[in-house]
């Protein structure tokens, strides 16, 4: 790293020090009282990423270190910026639908659900119940898949290689169901505005049920590897702590918020799709540390299985497509709709000018907002913890940068 960049980034770090002080005094107080370096040693500024194995893509974090202790961070993002919002303004509502899958590609179904529901809201139509159920099943399957991916990579960051392969093995079963349903595995484009494009294939319920019976012991298998593992506990307990108040102030949502003790899940708070019809719990943590976030996500997978089980057993008959015009032309107006994506609140703010293309489409990406909390979470920790915390926030750079 050149001296020039050093200077720029350290200036940026200093200025961000001054900024958040009012709202986040706790973490900054820690920084203030941290031992001053005894010798006249230069603070080390190292550049983590964008080509770094543990930054989950092309995240670049500039770390200011004293030895191995983190004095401050600055995230440099945008390496994967594709201008999704600009593209939306130049595509029709239908044409834009596949693009949303490319944001959080680990949870493409959730992205699609959020988008379709937002446009439906703008159109003032509701998808028929059967479509709602299919949506719930696929979205929850995707939530499990996303959490599996998170678990594998997070464990890999902390040094446990093996869980990655176990989670990928089991994620494969979910992807198979997606593939059988809509032909795609990752960027599924499963839903359409007004409902679903495809009726479930013959044996869909059986496949999903098979997956549930297959997967239940697998979660226990993951937990056997990690939950009571001494090293795992040492590496995750009291690491990257964020209090509930700080989390709310920083707009953190999803499992990260819930692990800090805030019992808030959009599926319960403002139910969308068919979620109000299912019985499930919201797992909540107490300490807001990396371990709690791990536990919360593990429990979320179990709760997702509960939802899927109920949905599959009660899936109603009927149409899968609502009465939506061929050409989607919502009335003039603007709408904000958000869903609980695996990573947090995924919102779509759409402004319509009455034409076939969105006048303005804003995506509220959970990863982007959650990533902002990284600085608060890692100050005063060690380099190794930065990796653990990046993992635990569960970011997907496709969504951060859009």
């Amino acid at each position: 790293m050149s001296a020039e960049t050093n200077e720029v980034s350290s200036r940026a770090l200093l200025s961000s020090d001054a900024s958040n002080r009012s709202a986040l005094e706790r973490s900054h107080l820690d920084l203030e009282t941290a031992e001053k370096p005894y010798l006249d040693s230069n603070e080390l500024i190292i550049n983590m990423g964008p080509q770094h194995p543990a930054t989950h893509g092309v995240l670049r974090v500039i770390l200011k270190l004293d030895g191995e202790r983190v004095l401050g961070t600055e995230c440099v993002i945008g390496y994967l910026h594709r201008g999704v919002e600009k593209i939306a303004e130049n595509r029709t509502y239908t044409m834009f639908n596949p693009y949303v899958d490319r944001m959080d590609y680990c949870a493409a179904v959730s992205n699609g659900l959020g988008y379709c529901e937002a446009v439906e809201k703008l159109l003032n139509v509701v998808a028929p119940p059967r479509a709602q159920y299919i949506r719930v099943i696929l979205t929850e399957l995707n939530r499990i898949a996303s959490h599996q991916l998170w678990l594998g990579t997070h464990a890999l960051d902390i040094g446990a290689m093996t869980p990655l392969f176990y989670t990928f093995r089991d994620r494969e079963e979910i992807l198979k169901i997606f593939e059988k349903y809509c032909g795609a595995r990752l960027t599924t484009h499963a839903f359409r505005i007004g409902g679903c494009q495809y009726e479930t294939y013959a044996g869909f319920e059986k496949d999903v049920n098979n997956f549930l019976t297959f997967f239940a012991p697998k979660i226990d298998e993951y937990e056997t590897l990690l939950t009571t593992n001494r090293i795992w506990l040492e590496r995750t307990k009291n690491v990257g702590v964020i209090s509930g108040a700080d989390a709310i102030a920083l707009g953190v949502t999803g499992p990260v918020l819930r692990a800090s003790g805030v019992k808030w899940d959009l599926r319960k708070a403002q139910p969308y799709a068919a979620y109000s019809e299912f019985d499930f719990e919201i797992p909540v943590g107490t300490n807001g540390d990396t371990y709690d976030r791990y536990l919360v996500r593990m429990e979320e997978m179990r709760q997702s299985m509960r939802i899927i089980e109920q949905a599959v057993s009660r899936i109603p008959e009927g149409a899968i497509m609502g009465k939506v015009p061929k050409v989607i032309k919502p009335p003039v107006g603007e709408i904000y709709h958000s869903i609980e994506a695996p990573k947090g609140e995924l919102g779509y703010f759409i402004v319509s000018d009455g034409s076939t293309q969105p006048y303005r489409l804003r995506v509220r990406p959970p990863s982007f907002v959650n990533l902002q909390a990284l600085d608060v979470m890692v100050r005063g920790l060690l380099v190794a913890d930065v990796v653990a915390v990046i993992g635990t926030i569960d970011i997907v750079l496709g969504e951060v940068d859009r």
Binding site: K121, I248, Q270, P331, I335, F349, Y359, V369, Q372
Partner: protein, 219 residues
């Protein structure tokens, strides 16, 4: 106001099934907000005007209080069951602070903007807020002219830091008092603000691309 010049669009047909859905939808949307007097105003909105929804006045004790305090600078509206306040630019710092401190809108969901090049005040800046205690969303909206700046809300919600940076990056709207207002998604030296309507979808900062990437064009 964007919605003042609204022409109700008759496109969405509302057959019986959809009507029913429409009626039950707002209740599903805000189950805990039913205790407030805001609902009776919102509920009959959709069935009363099947031709197409339009923004209606939004009334609630909270809104009344501010209305009396700030007068015409505040225009509370509701559209499809979603409430928003159209606020004059000068009132923005006060309103946001009051919403945060007195009305418990403790979670700033998003800050974004929209560009209307034909208007005199070209930009809408929109705050999407949520209150955990009330389980209620509200949007705050204001219009500002190109080149004008607006008060930063980082001191109210720290999360506004990156969100405002993104708005600055994409629209070029200045936020006064932002601690570190610089580009976030685009590289630092980039020229232009891509989400403005006059920025073409294939447009790019050719100069930057040539200097920094060493290629003729990014496309």
């Amino acid at each position: 106001m964007a919605e003042e010049v609204k022409t109700p669009d008759p496109t969405p047909p509302l057959p019986d099934g959809e009507k029913k859905a429409l009626v039950e939808k707002p209740t599903a949307e805000k189950p805990t907000a039913s205790g407030e007097p805001a609902k009776p105003a919102a509920k009959p909105a959709a069935p009363a005007k099947p031709a197409g929804p339009v923004p209606l006045p939004w009334t609630s004790p909270m809104v009344e209080k501010y209305r009396s305090q700030y007068g015409s600078g505040l225009d509370p509206l509701t559209y499809l069951g979603q409430n928003y306040l159209a606020v004059d630019r000068s009132l923005i710092p006060d309103i946001l602070r009051l919403l945060r401190e007195e009305e418990q809108f403790d979670y700033c969901v998003d800050i974004t903007a929209a560009h209307y090049p034909k208007r005199e005040k070209q930009f809408d800046v929109i705050w999407i807020l949520y209150s955990f205690p009330r389980n209620e969303r509200v949007r705050v909206k204001t219009q500002i002219a190109d080149g004008a700046s607006i008060a930063s809300s980082v001191s109210i919600w720290p999360t506004a830091n990156w969100l405002e940076r993104e708005v600055y990056d994409m629209f070029g709207i200045q936020f006064d008092g932002h601690p570190d207002l610089k580009r976030i998604l685009l590289p630092d030296g980039w020229k232009g603000h891509p989400l403005r309507k006059d920025y073409g979808i294939l447009q790019q900062d050719k100069e930057w691309v040539q200097i920094n990437l060493g290629i003729e064009s990014g496309q």
